[in-house]
Protein backbone atom coordinates (compact mmCIF):
# COMPACT_ATOMS: atom_id res chain seq x y z
CA UNK A 1 0.00 0.00 0.00
CA UNK A 2 1.25 3.45 -0.81
CA UNK A 3 1.83 5.91 1.97
CA UNK A 4 -0.12 8.65 0.22
CA UNK A 5 -2.68 8.01 -2.52
CA UNK A 6 -4.02 10.88 -4.57
CA UNK A 7 -7.19 9.54 -6.20
CA UNK A 8 -8.17 11.65 -9.18
CA UNK A 9 -8.61 14.96 -7.39
CA UNK A 10 -10.02 18.18 -8.81
CA UNK A 11 -9.91 21.57 -7.23
CA UNK A 12 -12.07 24.47 -8.42
CA UNK A 13 -12.70 27.91 -7.03
CA UNK A 14 -16.02 28.92 -8.60
CA UNK A 15 -15.46 28.73 -12.37
CA UNK A 16 -11.72 28.63 -11.96
CA UNK A 17 -10.50 25.06 -12.41
CA UNK A 18 -7.14 25.04 -10.66
CA UNK A 19 -6.27 21.34 -10.57
CA UNK A 20 -7.80 18.46 -12.49
CA UNK A 21 -7.31 14.71 -12.62
CA UNK A 22 -4.36 14.60 -10.29
CA UNK A 23 -3.56 10.94 -9.69
CA UNK A 24 -0.44 9.68 -8.03
CA UNK A 25 0.99 7.46 -5.32
CA UNK A 26 3.76 8.32 -2.93
CA UNK A 27 5.81 5.86 -0.91
CA UNK A 28 7.11 6.48 2.56
CA UNK A 29 10.42 8.33 2.61
CA UNK A 30 10.19 9.90 -0.82
CA UNK A 31 11.51 13.43 -1.26
CA UNK A 32 9.31 15.07 -3.85
CA UNK A 33 10.12 18.44 -5.35
CA UNK A 34 7.38 20.30 -7.17
CA UNK A 35 7.90 22.91 -9.87
CA UNK A 36 5.44 24.77 -12.06
CA UNK A 37 4.53 28.21 -13.33
CA UNK A 38 3.32 30.63 -10.69
CA UNK A 39 -0.43 30.39 -10.12
CA UNK A 40 -0.70 26.84 -11.46
CA UNK A 41 -1.86 25.35 -8.17
CA UNK A 42 1.27 24.11 -6.37
CA UNK A 43 0.39 25.79 -3.08
CA UNK A 44 -3.21 24.64 -3.44
CA UNK A 45 -2.01 21.05 -3.73
CA UNK A 46 0.22 21.44 -0.67
CA UNK A 47 -2.67 22.95 1.29
CA UNK A 48 -4.77 19.89 0.51
CA UNK A 49 -2.01 17.70 1.96
CA UNK A 50 -1.88 20.05 4.95
CA UNK A 51 -5.64 19.98 5.48
CA UNK A 52 -6.45 23.67 5.07
CA UNK A 53 -7.99 23.12 1.60
CA UNK A 54 -10.06 20.19 0.41
CA UNK A 55 -10.38 18.60 -3.04
CA UNK A 56 -13.58 19.53 -4.84
CA UNK A 57 -13.67 15.99 -6.22
CA UNK A 58 -11.60 12.95 -5.44
CA UNK A 59 -9.77 11.88 -2.32
CA UNK A 60 -6.34 11.94 -0.77
CA UNK A 61 -5.54 8.98 1.44
CA UNK A 62 -2.80 8.96 4.05
CA UNK A 63 -1.93 5.45 5.21
CA UNK A 64 -5.16 4.27 3.61
CA UNK A 65 -7.36 6.73 5.51
CA UNK A 66 -8.79 10.03 4.22
CA UNK A 67 -6.36 12.78 5.10
CA UNK A 68 -7.62 14.81 8.12
CA UNK A 69 -9.32 18.03 6.98
CA UNK A 70 -7.45 20.21 9.44
CA UNK A 71 -3.76 20.61 10.23
CA UNK A 72 -2.36 18.04 12.63
CA UNK A 73 0.90 16.88 14.15
CA UNK A 74 1.67 14.25 11.52
CA UNK A 75 2.13 16.89 8.79
CA UNK A 76 4.69 19.61 9.50
CA UNK A 77 4.89 22.78 7.43
CA UNK A 78 7.40 25.50 6.65
CA UNK A 79 6.14 28.55 4.75
CA UNK A 80 8.25 31.09 2.96
CA UNK A 81 7.79 33.44 5.92
CA UNK A 82 5.86 33.88 9.20
CA UNK A 83 6.65 30.29 10.13
CA UNK A 84 8.02 30.98 13.62
CA UNK A 85 6.51 32.88 16.53
CA UNK A 86 7.94 36.40 16.78
CA UNK A 87 7.20 36.75 20.51
CA UNK A 88 9.29 33.72 21.50
CA UNK A 89 13.07 33.29 21.41
CA UNK A 90 14.57 30.57 19.23
CA UNK A 91 14.73 28.24 22.21
CA UNK A 92 11.21 29.07 23.39
CA UNK A 93 9.91 28.43 19.87
CA UNK A 94 11.11 24.83 20.19
CA UNK A 95 10.27 24.32 23.87
CA UNK A 96 6.73 25.42 23.00
CA UNK A 97 6.19 22.27 20.94
CA UNK A 98 6.83 20.11 24.02
CA UNK A 99 4.81 22.38 26.29
CA UNK A 100 1.82 22.09 23.96
CA UNK A 101 2.05 18.32 24.16
CA UNK A 102 2.59 17.94 27.89
CA UNK A 103 0.63 20.80 29.41
CA UNK A 104 -2.86 20.84 28.08
CA UNK A 105 -4.32 23.83 29.92
CA UNK A 106 -1.40 26.01 31.02
CA UNK A 107 0.70 25.19 27.95
CA UNK A 108 3.74 25.91 30.13
CA UNK A 109 6.18 23.54 31.83
CA UNK A 110 8.04 24.10 35.08
CA UNK A 111 10.84 22.51 37.11
CA UNK A 112 12.31 19.24 35.92
CA UNK A 113 9.78 18.84 33.12
CA UNK A 114 10.89 22.21 31.77
CA UNK A 115 14.57 21.32 32.07
CA UNK A 116 14.00 18.15 30.10
CA UNK A 117 12.17 20.05 27.37
CA UNK A 118 14.90 22.70 27.35
CA UNK A 119 17.53 20.00 26.84
CA UNK A 120 15.63 18.43 23.96
CA UNK A 121 15.10 21.82 22.34
CA UNK A 122 18.80 22.69 22.60
CA UNK A 123 19.71 19.41 20.92
CA UNK A 124 17.45 20.29 18.02
CA UNK A 125 18.88 23.82 17.85
CA UNK A 126 22.37 22.35 17.60
CA UNK A 127 21.23 20.00 14.85
CA UNK A 128 20.19 22.95 12.67
CA UNK A 129 23.22 25.00 13.70
CA UNK A 130 21.46 27.55 15.88
CA UNK A 131 22.95 26.66 19.28
CA UNK A 132 24.40 30.16 19.61
CA UNK A 133 21.12 31.89 18.85
CA UNK A 134 19.06 30.15 21.56
CA UNK A 135 18.07 33.36 23.31
CA UNK A 136 17.53 35.52 20.27
CA UNK A 137 14.13 36.57 18.98
CA UNK A 138 13.27 35.79 15.34
CA UNK A 139 13.64 39.43 14.31
CA UNK A 140 17.25 39.26 15.48
CA UNK A 141 17.92 36.29 13.17
CA UNK A 142 18.77 36.42 9.47
CA UNK A 143 16.29 35.04 6.94
CA UNK A 144 18.25 31.79 6.65
CA UNK A 145 18.43 31.35 10.40
CA UNK A 146 14.68 31.95 10.70
CA UNK A 147 14.02 29.19 8.19
CA UNK A 148 16.40 26.86 10.05
CA UNK A 149 14.39 27.58 13.17
CA UNK A 150 11.11 26.97 11.35
CA UNK A 151 12.37 23.60 10.09
CA UNK A 152 13.65 22.67 13.55
CA UNK A 153 10.29 23.57 15.05
CA UNK A 154 8.43 21.38 12.58
CA UNK A 155 10.82 18.49 13.22
CA UNK A 156 10.27 18.61 17.00
CA UNK A 157 6.97 16.79 16.46
CA UNK A 158 8.64 14.09 14.36
CA UNK A 159 5.99 14.39 11.65
CA UNK A 160 5.60 11.75 8.96
CA UNK A 161 5.31 14.37 6.25
CA UNK A 162 7.18 17.66 5.92
CA UNK A 163 5.62 20.23 3.60
CA UNK A 164 7.83 23.07 2.35
CA UNK A 165 6.33 25.90 0.28
CA UNK A 166 9.21 27.73 -1.40
CA UNK A 167 11.07 27.71 1.90
CA UNK A 168 14.27 29.17 0.45
CA UNK A 169 12.68 31.46 -2.14
CA UNK A 170 13.59 34.62 -0.24
CA UNK A 171 17.18 33.65 0.58
CA UNK A 172 20.50 34.57 -1.04
CA UNK A 173 22.03 31.88 -3.28
CA UNK A 174 24.95 31.21 -0.94
CA UNK A 175 22.69 30.72 2.04
CA UNK A 176 20.37 28.59 -0.05
CA UNK A 177 23.22 26.13 -0.64
CA UNK A 178 23.69 25.80 3.13
CA UNK A 179 19.98 25.18 3.52
CA UNK A 180 20.09 22.44 0.85
CA UNK A 181 22.79 20.72 2.82
CA UNK A 182 20.70 20.96 5.98
CA UNK A 183 17.53 19.63 4.42
CA UNK A 184 19.37 16.70 2.82
CA UNK A 185 21.03 15.90 6.14
CA UNK A 186 17.65 15.90 7.86
CA UNK A 187 16.06 13.77 5.20
CA UNK A 188 18.91 11.26 5.32
CA UNK A 189 18.64 10.98 9.09
CA UNK A 190 14.88 10.80 9.43
CA UNK A 191 13.72 9.44 6.05
CA UNK A 192 10.74 11.68 6.50
CA UNK A 193 8.41 12.25 3.56
CA UNK A 194 9.21 15.64 2.06
CA UNK A 195 7.11 17.67 -0.38
CA UNK A 196 8.94 20.80 -1.43
CA UNK A 197 7.71 23.47 -3.82
CA UNK A 198 10.45 25.43 -5.52
CA UNK A 199 10.63 27.84 -8.40
CA UNK A 200 14.20 26.76 -9.08
CA UNK A 201 14.24 23.72 -11.36
CA UNK A 202 17.93 23.03 -10.58
CA UNK A 203 17.11 22.99 -6.88
CA UNK A 204 14.36 20.48 -7.59
CA UNK A 205 16.74 18.19 -9.42
CA UNK A 206 19.50 18.46 -6.88
CA UNK A 207 17.40 17.85 -3.80
CA UNK A 208 14.63 15.35 -4.36
CA UNK A 209 14.24 11.70 -5.25
CA UNK A 210 11.31 12.50 -7.47
CA UNK A 211 10.36 15.60 -9.41
CA UNK A 212 6.84 16.68 -10.30
CA UNK A 213 6.01 19.32 -12.84
CA UNK A 214 2.51 20.76 -12.46
CA UNK A 215 1.10 22.32 -15.61
CA UNK A 216 -1.98 22.51 -17.81
CA UNK A 217 -2.36 19.93 -20.57
CA UNK A 218 -5.45 21.45 -22.14
CA UNK A 219 -5.78 25.08 -22.97
CA UNK A 220 -8.73 27.17 -24.08
CA UNK A 221 -7.63 30.60 -25.23
CA UNK A 222 -11.19 31.95 -24.78
CA UNK A 223 -11.51 30.66 -21.21
CA UNK A 224 -8.12 30.32 -19.57
CA UNK A 225 -9.70 29.04 -16.33
CA UNK A 226 -11.76 26.30 -17.95
CA UNK A 227 -9.06 23.64 -17.60
CA UNK A 228 -6.92 22.84 -14.60
CA UNK A 229 -3.34 21.80 -14.19
CA UNK A 230 -2.12 18.35 -13.35
CA UNK A 231 1.16 16.49 -12.86
CA UNK A 232 2.69 16.55 -16.35
CA UNK A 233 6.12 15.13 -15.50
CA UNK A 234 6.77 12.67 -12.71
CA UNK A 235 10.36 11.58 -12.91
CA UNK A 236 12.77 9.88 -10.56
CA UNK A 237 15.65 12.23 -9.98
CA UNK A 238 19.07 10.77 -10.62
CA UNK A 239 17.82 8.86 -13.66
CA UNK A 240 17.40 11.98 -15.63
CA UNK A 241 19.70 13.57 -18.14
CA UNK A 242 20.23 17.09 -19.33
CA UNK A 243 17.90 16.77 -22.29
CA UNK A 244 14.95 16.02 -19.98
CA UNK A 245 15.88 19.01 -17.90
CA UNK A 246 15.92 21.22 -20.98
CA UNK A 247 12.63 19.80 -22.16
CA UNK A 248 10.96 20.59 -18.82
CA UNK A 249 12.54 24.02 -18.77
CA UNK A 250 11.07 24.75 -22.17
CA UNK A 251 7.62 23.50 -21.29
CA UNK A 252 7.64 25.68 -18.19
CA UNK A 253 8.80 28.65 -20.23
CA UNK A 254 5.97 27.96 -22.66
CA UNK A 255 3.24 27.95 -20.01
CA UNK A 256 4.76 31.00 -18.39
CA UNK A 257 4.32 32.88 -21.65
CA UNK A 258 0.84 31.55 -22.09
CA UNK A 259 0.01 32.68 -18.59
CA UNK A 260 1.28 36.15 -19.34
CA UNK A 261 -0.69 36.37 -22.60
Amino acid sequence: MSFIEVNDIWKTYGDNVVLERVKTNVHAGEFITIVGASGCGKTTFLKMLLGTEYPTRGKILLNGKPIPQEPSEDRGIVFQKYSVFPHLTALQNLVLTIELEQSRWLAHLFGSAYRLADEQAREMLAMVGLQHAANQYPHELSGGMQQRLAIAQALMKQPKVLLLDEPFGALDPGIRADMHELILKIWNQTKINVFMITHDLKEGFYLGTRLWVIDKIRHDAQAPNAYGATITYDIPVGQCDNSTLNEIDQSLEHSRKEHAA
Partner: protein, 286 residues
Protein backbone atom coordinates in the same frame (compact mmCIF):
# COMPACT_ATOMS: atom_id res chain seq x y z
CA UNK B 1 22.55 71.29 15.77
CA UNK B 2 24.88 68.33 15.45
CA UNK B 3 24.92 68.06 11.68
CA UNK B 4 26.31 70.61 9.27
CA UNK B 5 23.65 72.75 7.67
CA UNK B 6 25.72 73.42 4.60
CA UNK B 7 26.56 70.96 1.87
CA UNK B 8 30.15 70.75 0.70
CA UNK B 9 29.48 73.12 -2.19
CA UNK B 10 28.32 75.80 0.23
CA UNK B 11 24.59 75.67 -0.43
CA UNK B 12 22.10 75.00 2.33
CA UNK B 13 20.45 71.58 2.75
CA UNK B 14 16.75 71.19 2.11
CA UNK B 15 14.86 72.01 5.32
CA UNK B 16 13.29 68.56 5.33
CA UNK B 17 16.76 67.03 5.62
CA UNK B 18 17.93 69.05 8.61
CA UNK B 19 17.61 67.03 11.82
CA UNK B 20 18.03 68.70 15.21
CA UNK B 21 20.58 67.14 17.60
CA UNK B 22 19.60 65.85 21.05
CA UNK B 23 20.09 69.17 22.82
CA UNK B 24 18.50 71.01 19.92
CA UNK B 25 15.48 68.71 20.06
CA UNK B 26 14.87 69.44 23.75
CA UNK B 27 15.29 73.19 23.24
CA UNK B 28 13.02 73.22 20.19
CA UNK B 29 10.48 71.14 22.09
CA UNK B 30 10.50 73.52 25.07
CA UNK B 31 10.16 76.63 22.97
CA UNK B 32 6.35 76.56 22.41
CA UNK B 33 5.79 75.98 26.15
CA UNK B 34 8.01 78.88 27.12
CA UNK B 35 6.34 81.12 24.54
CA UNK B 36 2.88 80.20 25.85
CA UNK B 37 3.88 81.10 29.40
CA UNK B 38 5.43 84.39 28.29
CA UNK B 39 2.33 85.35 26.31
CA UNK B 40 0.10 84.44 29.26
CA UNK B 41 2.15 86.47 31.74
CA UNK B 42 2.19 89.48 29.41
CA UNK B 43 -1.58 89.35 28.78
CA UNK B 44 -2.34 88.75 32.45
CA UNK B 45 -0.14 91.72 33.39
CA UNK B 46 -1.93 94.00 30.94
CA UNK B 47 -5.37 92.95 32.22
CA UNK B 48 -4.47 93.20 35.90
CA UNK B 49 -3.03 96.65 35.36
CA UNK B 50 -6.32 97.80 33.87
CA UNK B 51 -8.38 96.06 36.57
CA UNK B 52 -6.65 94.59 39.66
CA UNK B 53 -9.78 92.55 40.47
CA UNK B 54 -9.78 90.78 37.08
CA UNK B 55 -10.40 87.04 37.62
CA UNK B 56 -9.93 85.80 34.07
CA UNK B 57 -6.13 85.72 33.94
CA UNK B 58 -4.80 85.58 37.50
CA UNK B 59 -1.13 86.33 38.17
CA UNK B 60 1.38 83.62 39.08
CA UNK B 61 1.26 84.70 42.75
CA UNK B 62 -2.52 84.26 42.88
CA UNK B 63 -2.26 80.86 41.21
CA UNK B 64 0.58 79.91 43.57
CA UNK B 65 -1.54 80.83 46.57
CA UNK B 66 -4.43 78.73 45.25
CA UNK B 67 -2.15 75.76 44.72
CA UNK B 68 -0.76 76.14 48.23
CA UNK B 69 -4.26 76.26 49.67
CA UNK B 70 -5.50 73.21 47.72
CA UNK B 71 -2.44 71.04 47.98
CA UNK B 72 -0.90 71.80 51.34
CA UNK B 73 -3.66 73.08 53.62
CA UNK B 74 -6.53 70.92 54.88
CA UNK B 75 -9.89 72.11 53.61
CA UNK B 76 -11.96 73.91 56.25
CA UNK B 77 -15.08 72.08 55.19
CA UNK B 78 -13.87 68.47 54.99
CA UNK B 79 -10.36 68.48 56.49
CA UNK B 80 -8.95 66.88 53.27
CA UNK B 81 -6.07 68.17 51.23
CA UNK B 82 -8.33 68.82 48.29
CA UNK B 83 -5.91 68.48 45.38
CA UNK B 84 -4.80 65.08 46.62
CA UNK B 85 -8.23 63.75 47.56
CA UNK B 86 -9.53 64.92 44.17
CA UNK B 87 -6.59 63.26 42.43
CA UNK B 88 -7.01 59.92 44.24
CA UNK B 89 -10.74 59.89 43.63
CA UNK B 90 -10.33 60.60 39.91
CA UNK B 91 -7.41 58.24 39.37
CA UNK B 92 -9.28 55.44 41.13
CA UNK B 93 -12.29 55.86 38.85
CA UNK B 94 -10.09 56.16 35.77
CA UNK B 95 -7.92 53.15 36.60
CA UNK B 96 -10.85 50.96 37.48
CA UNK B 97 -12.79 51.98 34.36
CA UNK B 98 -9.83 51.50 32.04
CA UNK B 99 -8.89 48.16 33.61
CA UNK B 100 -12.40 46.76 33.27
CA UNK B 101 -12.64 48.06 29.71
CA UNK B 102 -9.25 46.56 28.84
CA UNK B 103 -10.25 43.16 30.23
CA UNK B 104 -13.60 43.05 28.45
CA UNK B 105 -12.06 44.45 25.28
CA UNK B 106 -9.27 41.88 25.34
CA UNK B 107 -11.57 38.96 25.95
CA UNK B 108 -14.22 39.79 23.37
CA UNK B 109 -11.76 41.25 20.88
CA UNK B 110 -9.69 38.08 20.86
CA UNK B 111 -12.68 35.73 20.82
CA UNK B 112 -14.16 37.70 17.96
CA UNK B 113 -10.91 37.77 16.05
CA UNK B 114 -9.94 34.15 16.57
CA UNK B 115 -13.21 32.19 16.54
CA UNK B 116 -15.34 32.57 13.40
CA UNK B 117 -18.41 31.21 15.22
CA UNK B 118 -18.19 33.92 17.88
CA UNK B 119 -17.48 36.61 15.29
CA UNK B 120 -20.55 35.69 13.26
CA UNK B 121 -22.58 35.97 16.45
CA UNK B 122 -21.23 39.10 18.04
CA UNK B 123 -19.59 41.27 15.43
CA UNK B 124 -22.71 43.01 14.02
CA UNK B 125 -24.10 43.51 17.52
CA UNK B 126 -20.90 45.15 18.73
CA UNK B 127 -20.67 47.34 15.66
CA UNK B 128 -24.14 48.71 16.37
CA UNK B 129 -23.57 49.06 20.12
CA UNK B 130 -20.39 51.02 19.53
CA UNK B 131 -22.37 53.60 17.56
CA UNK B 132 -24.40 54.63 20.63
CA UNK B 133 -22.96 57.92 21.93
CA UNK B 134 -21.96 57.09 25.54
CA UNK B 135 -22.86 60.57 26.82
CA UNK B 136 -26.42 60.06 25.63
CA UNK B 137 -26.85 57.13 28.01
CA UNK B 138 -25.22 58.82 31.00
CA UNK B 139 -28.67 59.64 32.45
CA UNK B 140 -29.58 55.96 32.16
CA UNK B 141 -26.42 55.06 34.06
CA UNK B 142 -27.27 57.51 36.82
CA UNK B 143 -30.78 56.10 37.03
CA UNK B 144 -29.67 52.47 37.01
CA UNK B 145 -26.42 52.63 39.02
CA UNK B 146 -27.19 55.67 41.19
CA UNK B 147 -25.04 58.73 41.64
CA UNK B 148 -22.16 56.85 43.32
CA UNK B 149 -18.83 55.58 41.99
CA UNK B 150 -20.33 52.82 39.90
CA UNK B 151 -22.03 55.01 37.33
CA UNK B 152 -18.85 57.05 36.73
CA UNK B 153 -16.76 53.93 36.25
CA UNK B 154 -19.46 52.48 34.02
CA UNK B 155 -19.44 55.56 31.80
CA UNK B 156 -15.71 55.11 31.19
CA UNK B 157 -16.19 51.39 30.58
CA UNK B 158 -19.05 51.93 28.16
CA UNK B 159 -17.21 54.79 26.51
CA UNK B 160 -13.96 53.05 25.64
CA UNK B 161 -14.66 49.30 25.58
CA UNK B 162 -16.11 49.24 22.04
CA UNK B 163 -13.00 50.86 20.60
CA UNK B 164 -10.63 48.49 22.42
CA UNK B 165 -12.76 45.51 21.46
CA UNK B 166 -12.91 46.37 17.78
CA UNK B 167 -9.27 47.36 17.62
CA UNK B 168 -8.14 44.07 19.17
CA UNK B 169 -10.46 42.10 16.92
CA UNK B 170 -8.78 43.74 13.92
CA UNK B 171 -5.29 43.17 15.39
CA UNK B 172 -6.12 39.50 15.99
CA UNK B 173 -7.36 39.07 12.45
CA UNK B 174 -4.11 40.64 11.25
CA UNK B 175 -1.96 37.91 12.78
CA UNK B 176 -0.55 35.90 9.86
CA UNK B 177 -2.66 32.80 9.14
CA UNK B 178 0.64 30.94 8.72
CA UNK B 179 1.29 31.24 12.45
CA UNK B 180 -2.08 29.82 13.42
CA UNK B 181 -1.67 26.94 10.99
CA UNK B 182 1.87 26.29 12.18
CA UNK B 183 0.64 26.11 15.78
CA UNK B 184 -1.97 23.53 14.77
CA UNK B 185 0.66 21.39 13.04
CA UNK B 186 2.53 21.48 16.36
CA UNK B 187 -0.53 19.92 17.99
CA UNK B 188 -2.01 23.02 19.60
CA UNK B 189 -5.70 23.00 20.52
CA UNK B 190 -7.87 26.10 20.04
CA UNK B 191 -7.31 26.98 23.70
CA UNK B 192 -3.54 26.52 23.40
CA UNK B 193 -3.40 28.67 20.27
CA UNK B 194 -5.18 31.38 22.26
CA UNK B 195 -2.92 31.28 25.32
CA UNK B 196 0.42 30.74 23.61
CA UNK B 197 0.10 32.39 20.20
CA UNK B 198 -2.67 34.97 20.17
CA UNK B 199 -2.86 36.51 23.65
CA UNK B 200 0.90 37.08 24.06
CA UNK B 201 1.00 38.83 20.71
CA UNK B 202 -2.13 40.88 21.38
CA UNK B 203 -1.03 42.17 24.81
CA UNK B 204 1.35 44.86 23.46
CA UNK B 205 -1.41 45.85 21.05
CA UNK B 206 -3.79 46.08 24.00
CA UNK B 207 -1.41 48.57 25.60
CA UNK B 208 -1.42 50.59 22.39
CA UNK B 209 -5.21 50.57 22.30
CA UNK B 210 -5.41 51.59 25.96
CA UNK B 211 -2.99 54.46 25.33
CA UNK B 212 -5.24 55.69 22.55
CA UNK B 213 -8.31 55.32 24.79
CA UNK B 214 -6.91 57.35 27.66
CA UNK B 215 -7.98 60.65 26.09
CA UNK B 216 -11.64 59.60 25.76
CA UNK B 217 -11.44 57.98 29.22
CA UNK B 218 -10.49 61.34 30.78
CA UNK B 219 -13.27 63.01 28.83
CA UNK B 220 -15.89 60.61 30.18
CA UNK B 221 -14.47 60.81 33.69
CA UNK B 222 -14.59 64.59 33.84
CA UNK B 223 -18.05 64.70 32.28
CA UNK B 224 -19.41 62.26 34.86
CA UNK B 225 -17.72 64.09 37.72
CA UNK B 226 -19.02 67.42 36.50
CA UNK B 227 -22.58 66.18 36.75
CA UNK B 228 -22.58 64.23 40.00
CA UNK B 229 -19.74 63.82 42.49
CA UNK B 230 -18.47 64.92 45.89
CA UNK B 231 -14.84 64.99 44.89
CA UNK B 232 -12.64 64.54 41.85
CA UNK B 233 -10.64 66.72 39.52
CA UNK B 234 -13.55 67.30 37.16
CA UNK B 235 -15.91 67.95 40.06
CA UNK B 236 -13.61 70.65 41.46
CA UNK B 237 -13.20 72.47 38.15
CA UNK B 238 -16.93 72.63 37.56
CA UNK B 239 -17.61 73.57 41.19
CA UNK B 240 -15.31 76.62 41.24
CA UNK B 241 -16.47 77.68 37.78
CA UNK B 242 -19.39 79.38 39.58
CA UNK B 243 -16.93 81.76 41.27
CA UNK B 244 -14.86 82.28 38.11
CA UNK B 245 -11.91 80.85 40.05
CA UNK B 246 -9.45 80.69 37.21
CA UNK B 247 -6.67 80.49 39.81
CA UNK B 248 -7.95 77.00 40.66
CA UNK B 249 -9.11 75.89 37.24
CA UNK B 250 -5.85 76.62 35.45
CA UNK B 251 -3.53 74.62 37.76
CA UNK B 252 -6.09 71.79 37.78
CA UNK B 253 -6.08 71.65 33.99
CA UNK B 254 -2.28 71.62 33.95
CA UNK B 255 -2.27 68.90 36.63
CA UNK B 256 -4.73 66.73 34.66
CA UNK B 257 -2.52 67.14 31.60
CA UNK B 258 0.53 66.09 33.60
CA UNK B 259 -1.31 63.04 34.92
CA UNK B 260 -2.46 62.11 31.43
CA UNK B 261 1.08 62.46 30.14
CA UNK B 262 2.49 60.33 32.97
CA UNK B 263 -0.09 57.59 32.42
CA UNK B 264 0.77 57.42 28.73
CA UNK B 265 4.51 57.46 29.47
CA UNK B 266 4.14 54.69 32.04
CA UNK B 267 2.23 52.45 29.64
CA UNK B 268 4.83 53.00 26.95
CA UNK B 269 7.66 52.09 29.34
CA UNK B 270 5.86 48.94 30.44
CA UNK B 271 5.35 47.95 26.83
CA UNK B 272 9.01 48.51 25.92
CA UNK B 273 10.20 46.49 28.91
CA UNK B 274 7.73 43.63 28.60
CA UNK B 275 7.53 43.26 24.81
CA UNK B 276 10.92 44.14 23.29
CA UNK B 277 10.21 41.89 20.27
CA UNK B 278 7.10 43.92 19.47
CA UNK B 279 8.82 47.28 19.36
CA UNK B 280 11.71 46.10 17.23
CA UNK B 281 9.15 44.67 14.81
CA UNK B 282 7.56 48.12 14.55
CA UNK B 283 10.94 49.65 13.84
CA UNK B 284 11.47 47.17 11.03
CA UNK B 285 8.34 48.45 9.37
CA UNK B 286 9.04 52.16 9.60
Amino acid sequence: MDEPLLLRNGTMKRVMNIHPGTVGKVLLGMLPFILTIIVYLWASGVRLEANPNDKLMPSLTTIGAAIERLAFEPSKRTGDYELWSDTTASLQRLTLGVLIAALIGLLIGILNGAIPLVRANLSPYITILSLIPPMAILPILFIVFGLGELSKVMLIVIGITPFIMRDLQARTLELPAEQLIKAQTLGASTWQVMVRVIIPQILPRLIQAVRLSLGPAWLFLIAAEAIAAEQGLGYRIFLVRRYLSMDVILPYVVWITVLAFLADWLLRQISYRAFPWFHSQLQDKS
